[in-house]
């Protein structure tokens, strides 16, 4: 499945969330990650976020799609971090 995660998190925890998501997904721009995951990895990600955030102060939204083909993606302006395997 394909995930898009956006978040709004208090400064003291924001780097923790960013660091954690970086191990699973691609950083797209500030507060946005996306990438292909397996079902079990999805659970891992949800549990990981749950452990870091404070429920009454932070907000995380996960959009999930069956496949990457289920939606269109258009970038306007600069693509800050292209997902590319050739570096």
């Amino acid at each position: 499945m394909y995930l898009i995660i956006v978040y709004d998190i208090k400064v003291e925890r924001v780097n923790k969330v960013k660091g954690f998501l970086r191990t699973h997904l691609y950083w797209i721009q500030n507060s946005v990650f996306e990438g292909e995951v397996t079902v079990s990895e999805f659970e891992e990600i949800k549990m990981g976020i749950n452990d870091i955030i404070e429920k009454d102060e932070d907000s995380v939204i996960i959009y999930s799609f069956r496949t990457e083909k289920a939606f269109k993606r258009k970038v306007m302006g600069i693509e800050k971090a292209p997902i590319d395997g050739i570096l």
Binding site: K18, G19, R22, Y26, E36, L87
Partner: protein, 322 residues
């Protein structure tokens, strides 16, 4: 398949930070999600710390290194986690028992030859590979098998010249160094598939040093050479024909000198991009009745070998059916 291959073309540093891997080069700093790396192919010069190695080892991610000329120089092969003493003994047994070894060696040649025939058939090129292959039945030593294999390959490369445009003719296969453009493409592709296969073997219980067609004493992961034989026509040769015929590569993508010819950085990028696309491409597998990527096909081949070694199902090399 959510994990992918990373091809590091530029010089840079591999660093561990926030429990993931960062690739830092002169232009930018890029985090690679550790859970999304399948294996790393390093073409530029790469510096890395032991912390990175520890992390990659923990996740079972191999790094394959290529030298300045794009030739395979070695791999960081993480500690084996999939071990099976039983299989290792069986692997050795099939090597030591001469008859058993011959059976397997022939299968690799047969698989490779049949796939070559498929490649030629696609372009309607007549060939005597079938006749040469039939001589395989009478072979009872490895050198004879190698001989048949060599003759098939020589004929095959000659036939490819009928398909290729004039400036991309093979002429004679030359290695170390490749002397013309097409030879350098073949060498580059072959060293790539060799490491791709090694990555797949790493993910099985097979020991990569015990091989059947190639001599295990070659100081290489020679089982990977055996299995690559089958996939060279499917993945490498077809890709080269595609790139050349579509004119996606031209003289400017090569670096030429008196006695050698090599892909330059741009040429490598084009090649790797298309190669990676092919690895990800899926086909409907006839027996499994589901979609399988080319990369997965290599792994399935390793599984089939395991079944053969353990005696549960005879190994039949993969042959394209399209």
């Amino acid at each position: 398949m959510t994990r992918k291959n990373y091809y590091l073309m530029s010089d840079g540093i591999l660093k561990r930070r926030e429990n993931t891997v960062y690739f830092i080069n002169k232009d930018n700093k890029k985090p690679l999600p550790i859970n999304k790396i399948y294996s790393i192919y390093a073409y530029g010069s790469l510096s890395f710390s032991s912390q990175v190695v520890n992390l990659l080892a923990k996740e079972g991610i191999p790094i394959h290194f290529f030298n300045y000329y794009g030739f395979y120089s070695g791999s960081f092969y993480p500690r084996e986690t999939l071990l099976s003493g039983d299989l290792l003994v069986k692997q050795a047994e099939h090597f030591l028992d001469f008859e058993k070894r011959i059976i397997l060696a022939k299968k690799f040649v047969e698989g490779a030859a049949k796939n070559m025939m498929k490649v030629l058939a696609y372009y309607n090129v007549d060939n005597p590979i079938k006749e040469i292959l039939s001589e395989l039945t009478d072979c009872d030593v490895i050198t004879e098998i190698m001989n048949v294999e060599g003759r098939i390959r020589a004929d095959y490369y000659g036939r490819l010249d009928e398909i290729l445009p004039e400036d991309f003719q093979i002429g004679k296969r030359s290695r170390r160094p490749p002397e013309n453009m097409i030879n350098s493409l073949i060498s580059f592709g072959n060293s790539l598939i060799y490491s791709t296969t090694l990555s797949e073997i790493y993910n099985t219980q097979l020991n990569p040093t015990i091989s059947y067609l190639h001599e295990p004493s070659e100081r290489r992961y020679s089982l990977s050479l055996d299995l690559s034989e089958i996939f060279k026509p499917i993945l490498v040769d077809r890709l080269i024909l595609y790139l050349v015929k579509k004119r996606m590569l031209n003289e400017n993508d090569f670096e030429k000198d008196m006695e050698y010819c090599l892909l330059n950085e741009n040429g490598r990028k084009v090649f790797l991009k298309e190669y990676d696309k092919r690895l990800k491409k899926t086909i409907k597998h006839r027996e499994l009745n589901k979609n399988v990527s080319y990369r997965r096909l290599i792994r399935l081949e390793a599984y089939k070998m395991i079944k053969h070694l353990l005696g549960s199902k005879e190994y039949k090399p993969f042959v394209m059916w399209w």
